[in-house]
Structure formats: C-alpha cells, structure tokens
C-alpha cells in the first residue's frame, strides 16, 4: 500500500508530462495547464500523507523498485527512501511546485506552446522528486541530471531568441562541469566502500575513516561539493544562474530559486556524515559560501534588471546556506532553504506579475509607482522583501539569524562577511522595491495606460506564499525547535541548541539593526534623493566593475572559452584534415581496386557461364589430382 502510494507520488508528474507531450496540443490551453497542475497537486497531497504518517511513527520508509546494477561485490537497487529529509523536501518541492503551476496557467496563457511548457515543468517535478527520494547516490544522480536537462529546456523555452539559447547552453555546460565532480565523488565512494546506499554509507564511511581512509573521503567530499557548486550556483560555477533568468518567470521561481538550486544543499545534508569527517572540506565549503554570498550581494547592488537582482540575491542566499553547511549546522541550512523557498518564490512570482503588467518590461529604470496599480503584488512582494531582508518577525529573520549566530560562534570573520552580505541584501531588495513600486511611473504613456493588477490565478499563489513567508519561521523558532527535532534521525543529534542568552539577543539586535541600516540607506538614496540608476554607458569607475559583475564572465571567456575554442579550431583546421587524409586513402585504394575489378562484370552471360564451366572443370581436376 505504502509502496504503491510512493510510486504514485513519483510517477504522477510523469503522467502529466506524458499527457502534455502527446495530447497537450489537442486539448485547450487551460485544460493542459490544469492537468499539469493537478498531477503535481496529487504528489503534494501524498507527500502530506507520508509526512503525517512519519510524524506518527517516526520511521523512515525504504523499499526497492527493482535490482539495477550488479558488478562483482557491488550491488545496487533502484530504491526509494522516504525519511525525514526527503519528505521535507518533497513537501516544499511539490507544494511550491503546485502553486507555481497554478500561476503559470495564467502567466503563460498567451504562449502558443503552453502544453510544452507544462510538459517540461511536470518533467522537472518528476526528476526533482527522483532526486529527493532516491535511496542511493546513483538514483539521486538520475534526478540530478534530469533537473539539469529540464532547466536547460525551460531556460531556452523561448528558443527564437538566440541569447536565451546561449543562456540555456551556458547553464547546461556549467552544470556538466559540476556533475562530473559529483560523478567522480560517487565513484570514489563506490570503489572504497562497495556501496552507495545512503543507509549503508553512514557506517561504511565511519569504518573507512577509522582504518585510515580519510584521504579518499576528503577527495570524495570535495568532488561532491564541486557537484553542489554547479547545481547550487556557488563560486566558481555561479555565473549560469543570473543568465538563466532568460527563462519564463515561473521557471525562475520554481527551478532557479526554490527547488533545483537547493539540490546541492540537499545532497550535502544527505551526506552530512561524510562531511563531518572531513573538516578541511567543511572549511572550504564555509569559505566558498561566505565569499559567494558577499560577491553576489555586491553585484546585486547595481543590477537594473528586476530578475537579475533576484537572481544574484538567490546566489547570495545560497551562499549563506553553504556557509551554514560548512559550519556543520545542517539543520540551520535546511531551515533557510525552506524559508528562502517561500519568500524567493514569492518575489519571483511577484516580479513576474510586474513584468506581466508591463508587457515584458524587466528594466527597473522604466518602472516606478506601481504600488497603486498593483496593490496585491506590491504587498506580497513587500512582505517577502521584509522576510529576505531579515526583519522581525518574518520567516527570513529567524533562519538568517540562526546562520549568523552559528557563524558568530564558529568563526568571527565569516560572521562579519555574512553580516555585510545581509546588509547588502536589505539594501538591494529595498532598492528594487523603491524603484519598482514607489514614486512616479517612468515607462511610456501607453504602458501607463495599460497598468493593471494581475488576474487572480497569479495573485492567489502570491498571497499564499506571502503568508508562508510571514509565518514560515515558526517551524524553528529559537524557543520551539520543531525542525531540529524533526531532523534529529538524519543528523544524529549533531545540532547544538543555542540557548537564548544575552549574546544571542545582542546578535539578533545587530542583525536587525544591520537590515534597517540597509533599508534606510536605500530609502535615502532612492526615495529622498529620487535617484534613478544611470544608463549603461554613464556608469564609471568601480561601480562599472560591479555593474559588469566583476567581469567574471569575461574572465571565464578569456581563460577557458577562448583557449578551448582555439584548441577546437586547431583540431578542425589542422588535425582533422590530416586524419582525414589517412582515412580517405584507404577509401581511394579500395576504389581503385574495385574500378579495375568491375570490368570483369561485363554483363555477358555467355562469358559468365563459360567461366563457370571452366571453374568447375578446374575444381574437379584438382580434386582428382589431390586424391
């Protein structure tokens, strides 16, 4: 029974995918979207069932669908594991997924390929569920690759624009780099431990560590982390995520903010027993996370595309989560993943609503004053902005505060870096709000005329997400640490309670004051002084460097893309012709021989018969002589 339910949970979005692929074009747009949404809702409801059951008996549920690979000692099932961690992920993947599907019905209504959109979106949810519920690293890897594929398809959804195709290819290729790391990590573990089942790995890793295999474990952990940097957009593989904003806004909300990019955090949390034994790698993770968070926040300060700001904000928040992971506070990272999913999905959907209202305009310099025209969008985005800025008592305050608190206890430098990133976050988020919703409208008269609030299918998900962004912090308030207790079986009691002493209250105060400083700075610049960002070629000096994203893309172009292009060019112009000559010469020899040989076949049947008889006579004569 449970097994069947789990299979339905997994396959339901896949059914939606198949339906939309084969029949999506024949049914109406609304019906195609409804099927797409309903199949995800089914998964969500089943996730809730499993969650309720897990809360009752507290037992993880694992089963194998079929035997998959057997090589020597190494045996692998295609298994499904529903434990605290995977069900938590299922809940918000399918929950937010349902809301975003619902939103997309209205948002994508004018698109001629809406059935294709829902097919991809359903396929994505299917792969995301596979990633989350896999009971071993290889099943997870299937999901991992699958979501990468769907991300590629959806970024390039409007394929008629070549820039979007390039962005899709960039995302795909950078993810491949990370995925190679992940795969090597899996191989190292498989070679050393003969198993990659999560349940067996824990004991195996500990045993190997005792028998002096720490070196291998470190390499494995490092490779797994490289995989995570690709998927979760960390330095050095983060540049694909801002470009990925080329996709439709619901895609950005679902894949590039709430779910897929948290896969790296999921994987590290899943493998926490491994990372706990490799403190060097943990340090790398913490530093990479903190630096990413700071760099991305700094770039976000000066972006003018509303979605780019949110994209850099996502990279920055993911950096904070990795900081928490690196410090061993897995539960804190998971907490921030969840609250972040709420408010960031809401922000993206809100920006989608704005873009929808302005008929595709994404440049904040051409917005402004939308508060009155789009009150629901404004208020929901305002709530989420307060949440991401870390204002009491919204969800982001609690989770971000826990990260900062952990950092403060472990390493003061990282705490300062993370705090600066938080202040920047408050600044650029309010910059976004002020430029978009306050003061006068700066677009064309025609756009102004058409300003309107989005339809209810768009606003309902916004409202729900805004409510969650408000109260989401309740799952892990410092007093009642529900999430920490919930995750105890996974993290084996590794979390430490921060007893609320004066230090903790002081830290909360500092974080709050920092956020308010950021907001006030944004207020004085963009409301009081009515500053509007300059046009691209007026930006000079250091701001130009920041505006151009520290020229990281250009750096990658020069150091990696250009040499590879040169190498490929060398292969094409020099090596390939040389090799071709060798290969072609075989061909021309064969051709020369056969052009002589074909003269024998002159079509004269009489001759054939004559040769035939002579041949038989020769054979018979030979047989006589041989005897």
């Amino acid at each position: 029974m449970e097994m069947n339910l789990a299979i339905i949970l997994l396959l339901s979005p896949f059914v939606g995918f198949l339906f939309n692929v084969f029949f999506g074009k024949k049914v109406s747009k609304g019906f195609s979207g409804t099927i797409g949404t309903l199949t995800v809702v089914v998964s969500f409801l089943l996730s809730v069932c499993f969650f309720a059951q897990l809360n009752q008996n507290g037992k993880a549920f694992e089963f194998s669908l079929f035997d998959w690979i057997q090589v020597g000692n190494f045996k692998l099932n295609f298994g499904i594991l529903l434990d605290q961690l995977s069900i938590l992920w299922l809940l918000f993947v399918t929950g937010i997924g349902s809301l975003i599907h619902l939103y997309s019905i209205s948002y994508m209504h004018d698109d001629e390929n809406i059935h294709k959109f829902f097919a991809y979106l359903n396929l994505f949810v299917f792969f995301m569920i596979t990633l989350v519920v896999g009971s071993n690293l290889l099943v997870m890897f299937i999901g991992w690759e699958g979501v990468g594929l769907c991300s590629y398809l959806l970024i390039g959804f409007w394929y008629k624009n070549q820039d979007y195709n390039d962005a899709a290819k960039k995302a795909f290729i950078m993810n491949r780099v990370g995925d190679l790391g992940l795969l090597i990590g899996i191989f190292i573990l498989a070679i050393n431990l003969d198993t990659i089942n999560f349940t067996d790995l824990n004991a195996g890793v500990v045993a190997l560590n005792k028998t002096g295999g720490n070196q291998a474990l470190q390499w494995a952990a490092l490779c797994l982390f490289i995989g995570a940097t690709g998927k979760s957009a960390q330095i050095p593989l983060y540049t694909w995520l801002p470009d990925a904003m080329a996709g439709p806004t619901p895609v950005s909300a679902l894949i590039h903010a709430a779910t897929m990019v948290t896969a790296g955090i999921f994987m590290v949390t899943r493998m926490n027993f491994l990372f706990d034994l490799t403190p060097n790698v943990q340090n790398i993770i913490a530093i990479v996370g903190a630096v990413t968070s700071l760099v991305a926040a700094a770039i976000g300060l000066l972006q003018n595309d509303i979605k780019k700001v949110l994209a850099y904000s996502t990279v920055s928040q993911l950096g904070l989560m990795f900081l928490a992971l690196g410090l061993g506070a897995y539960n804190v990272a998971v907490f921030h993943v969840i609250t972040h999913a709420f408010f960031k999905a809401c922000l993206f959907l809100g920006s989608g609503s704005v873009i929808h209202g302005l008929h595709g305009e994404q440049d904040m310099r051409k917005m402004g004053g939308l508060r009155k025209a789009m009150p629901i969008t404004f208020w929901t985005m305002m709530i989420s902005t307060l949440a991401i800025a870390g204002i009491f008592p919204f969800a982001g305050f609690w989770s971000k505060d826990e990260i900062l608190m952990t950092a403060f206890h472990e390493n003061k430098t990282l705490w300062i870096v993370a705090s600066i990133a938080s202040i920047m976050t408050a600044f650029y988020m309010f910059r976004l709000m002020y430029l978009t919703f306050f003061r006068e409208f700066r677009g064309t008269e025609e756009q102004k005329h058409h300003l309107h609030e989005s339809p209810s299918l768009i606003t309902i998900p916004l409202v729900i997400l805004a409510v969650l962004a408000t109260i989401g912090g309740a799952i892990n308030l410092p007093g009642s640490t529900w999430l920490n207790h919930y995750l105890e079986p996974i993290l084996a009691g590794k979390h430490e309670e921060h007893h609320l002493g004066s230090t903790e209250y002081m830290l909360m105060g500092i974080a709050l004051v920092g956020a308010i400083i950021g907001i006030v700075l944004a207020y004085s610049k963009y409301i009081k002084q009515a500053f509007v960002p300059k046009t691209d070629n007026e930006i000079v000096g250091f701001s130009k460097t920041v505006y151009n994203k520290f020229y990281v893309d250009e750096l990658y172009t020069v150091t990696i893309v250009k040499p590879i292009n040169a190498l490929s060019n060398f292969f094409r112009t020099t090596l390939e012709p040389a090799l071709s000559k060798v290969v072609f010469s075989f061909g021309s020899v064969a051709y020369g021989l056969s052009s002589q040989g074909r003269k024998l076949q002159n079509g004269n049947i009489g001759l054939y018969l004559f040769v035939f008889v002579i041949g038989i006579c020769a054979i018979i004569t030979y047989l006589f002589i041989a005897q």
Partner: protein
C-alpha cells in the same frame, strides 16, 4: 530390377549420363536462346538424377532414389520460377537472347 542392370551393365548408364551432361554443358555454352539454355540445364540435372538412380539400384540402397525425388520436386519449383523470370524478361526486353541481358553490367 537387378536383372535389368545385369543385362545392360552399370557402365552404360554412366556413359549415357556423362553424354547427357556434356550435351547439357555444350547447350548452355553455345546457345543464345534463354529457353534452350534453360532446357540444357534441365538435361544436366536429369543426367545426374539418372546416375543417382542407377547407383542406387546397383548398391541395393534406396537412399539415392529418395534423393532423386527431392531433386525432382525442387527442379519443378525451379522451372516454374525460371520460366516466370523468362516471361518477365521477354515482356521487358522483347527478346530472350542472353546477349541482350546486359543491363546489370558493372
């Protein structure tokens, strides 16, 4: 049966058979009419069949005769197919002279 063989002698059967076979071979080599070539092939086939039957009686062993039944059945089928091909060739080319069948030359 044995008596007949005793009266005529096995070697006469062999001579006849070889003679028939050679007639067939020369027919195939010299004639240009496809039907005659075809008939010559049948003569060769039956020369061999005759040899089979003769030796079968000579050795008092029925296997050779069984074999001949098979070869005759196959030959009948082969004739049907061969003649059909010839009809088709005649319809397409208006002639069954084998010198004209040069469309497939290399």
């Amino acid at each position: 049966m044995g008596n007949i063989l005793n009266e005529i002698g096995i070697e006469n059967y062999i001579f006849l058979s070889v003679l028939l076979f050679c007639i067939g071979v020369f027919g195939v080599l010299y004639r240009r009419n496809a039907i005659i070539v075809f008939m010559s092939i049948e003569i060769m086939l039956n020369a061999v069949n005759l040899l089979f039957v003769a030796f079968s009686t000579y050795h008092q062993d029925a296997e050779g005769q069984v074999f001949v039944f098979f070869s005759m059945a196959v030959a009948a089928a082969e004739v049907a197919v061969g003649l059909a091909i010839l009809v088709s060739v005649f319809r397409n080319l208006g002639s069954i002279d084998i010198d004209n069948l040069k469309n497939l030359k290399g």
